[in-house]
Amino acid sequence: MRQTSSLTILRRSLATPVILILLLVAFAILSWAVGSRPFNQTIIDMLVQVTLVTGLYIFIGNSGVISFGHAAFACLGGYVVAWTTIRPIMKKNAMPGLPDWLMSMEIGWWAAAGLAALWAALWAGIFGAILMRLSGIAASIATFAMLAMINAIYSNWSGVTGGTSSIVGIPIIRSVWPYLGVASLAVIVAWAYSISRQGLILRAARDEPTAARASGVDIPRARLIAFILSGAVMGAGGAMLALSIGVVTPNSFYLGLTFTTLSMLVVGGMASLSGAVLGVLILSSLIQALRWLEAGVQIGDTTFALPGGVQEIGLGLVMILILMFRPAGIMGNRELNLPRRR
């Protein structure tokens, strides 16, 4: 019986990741077809955000606990890339305190991203074991305290992280395909988790904590599994972020990143994987459109340009309006799917 039921859930929900990945592929092909460098970078940023927000969704969406701390895992991942891909000669100047084996290490981007995911997952496990006993707003604040702690350590541990100054020299990947691959992988992981036994258990605990507990669900354990998995995806996302811009600083993985990713998730629909991906696509497109307007648009003989700061104000207003009319986000808790056959 169980075999058939899990096969059914697989068949019913398989369309969601396929549609989402096709959407991402469409954006990637668009950037390849257009071929302009700034546009390419825009699409890469978007794919990196998809990875990060999907990682955030794995924990927040399934557990219902808002985490302010996931940017910390992106930070851990980003610095792993800095430690393992920068030329040893350059590393010696920026981060003299690294141990010898790490100092001489120079590996490919995919190995670095994998290590980043593992390193982030390790710390997610350690922090999660302590934090997952909390729920509600106390858990949110505790995750924020974790973020602030990791940020304080990385900002001051000068020998190993270069302190608050930026670490340059990460080999930048300009091709869109690696980012597409990692983002698609993140979507697949998130989907597979959400239909797995553990994912279903955690969502049951989110919607009916008392009943779930009475049925023998160990809520802290279920949350811990989601926390580690989402930490790993965030770590990989942080690694891709570092590879896309070639620079890491502790503050590029702090409050700014926390709030952009969280906003994209909530605007898209916190409890839905499609919401996570669509939230990124919609808000990034909006940000991009406003940036173009700020730079100036040629209409006839005159150039219309918005004054600086309008981009962010516009973004804030649109977010408020979306949430006003769709408090559960654009997707609510539904997923993109094929129309159900009768």
């Binding site: 604040i141 702690m149 977010m319």
Partner: protein, 303 residues
């Protein structure tokens, strides 16, 4: 540094956090909104003093008012902006889930911050706000700026005033009832809109008070100047017990004391990591008292 000096430092830093935490707890109590825009209201109040001048070394316009007009002006600006936020935005978010409200308040804070950026640019401006307050005074053998003493006294005054307001007036009674159980309070004849409006006005006025203290302490106006106080205040509200005003104040002072003590007592090579220790302490408090130090009734989550 003498022990007395440390105590005064702790009290004045704690005062700032306590005032901020009160501003957040007041609103959380009546509508379960974690108001991330609070920090930006603080920044707005500072810049209200500069308007309409946008020069780098600002010719303070409203800041030139004598203090007995200046203080009410800033408090009124804070209260006004806060009430405006309620009327235009938050009123439409009643009864939505806390995450949505939180992100909405964050988006609103974003709008306020970049509105300031558009007018004043992101460069910090130097302002001379109440310069006579930075003169040193000697109290019980400890030397400190007069401002530090005034900060502590003002906070004590505000706390006393607020306590009297909450305990002795009809509005206060309604607010306490609403914080305890909003639905029940409404059924017993408390008018929701009025209570929420008063909460926002008080919270905004508290933001104004913080703006005055920060502005005269640092001598600069910066569009992100409220952010740090807001984060600490937010943490204080949670570890104090969400919805409990006394808890928020107590936790604010505790945070200030912890930060100051660690600064004074840690060995120099570990001092850079002070914040990591403070946040570690926050996690510890939450593990042992997840409902906060003084938890308000009806706020406990059972699972």
């Amino acid at each position: 540094m003498s022990a007395l000096q440390i105590i005064f430092d702790a009290l004045s830093l704690g005062s700032l956090y306590a005032l901020g935490a009160l501003g957040i707890a007041l609103i959380f109590g009546v509508m379960r909104l974690v108001n991330f825009a609070h920090g930006d209201v603080i920044a707005f109040c500072v810049f209200a003093l500069l308007w309409p001048s946008v020069d780098a070394i600002a010719i303070v316009f409203a800041g030139n008012l004598p203090w007995f007009l200046l203080i009410p002006f800033v408090l009124a600006m804070g209260a006004g902006l806060s009430v405006l936020c309620e009327l235009v935005v938050f009123r439409r978010f009643r009864n939505t889930n806390p995450a949505t409200m939180m992100i909405a308040s964050f988006a609103l804070g974003f709008v306020i911050r970049y509105f300031l950026l558009m007018l004043f640019s992101s460069r910090p401006k130097s302002i001379a706000l109440l310069p006579e307050l930075s003169q040193p005074v000697t109290v019980l053998g400890a030397r400190m700026p007069l401002l530090q003493l005034i900060t502590i006294l003002v906070t004590v005054g505000v706390l006393l005033g607020l306590t009297i307001f909450l305990r002795r007036t009809r509005f206060g009674l309604e607010m306490r009832a609403a914080a305890e159980n909003f639905t029940m309070a409404r059924m017993l004849g408390v008018r929701a809109n009025r209570v929420i409006m008063v909460a926002f006005a008080l919270s905004g006025a508290l933001a104004g008070a913080i703006a005055l203290i920060l502005g005269s302490q640092t001598g600069t106006a910066n569009i992100v100047m409220g952010a740090n106080v807001m984060l600490m205040a937010f943490i204080a509200t949670v570890i104090g017990g969400m919805g409990s005003l006394a808890g928020a104040v107590l936790a604010g002072f505790l945070l200030g004391a912890t930060a100051t003590l660690l600064q004074a007592l840690l060995p120099p090579e570990a001092r850079a990591f002070r914040d990591a220790f403070v946040y570690g302490a926050v996690i510890l408090v939450l593990i042992f008292r997840p409902q906060g130090i003084l938890s308000a009734g009806g706020m406990k989550e059972r699972v």
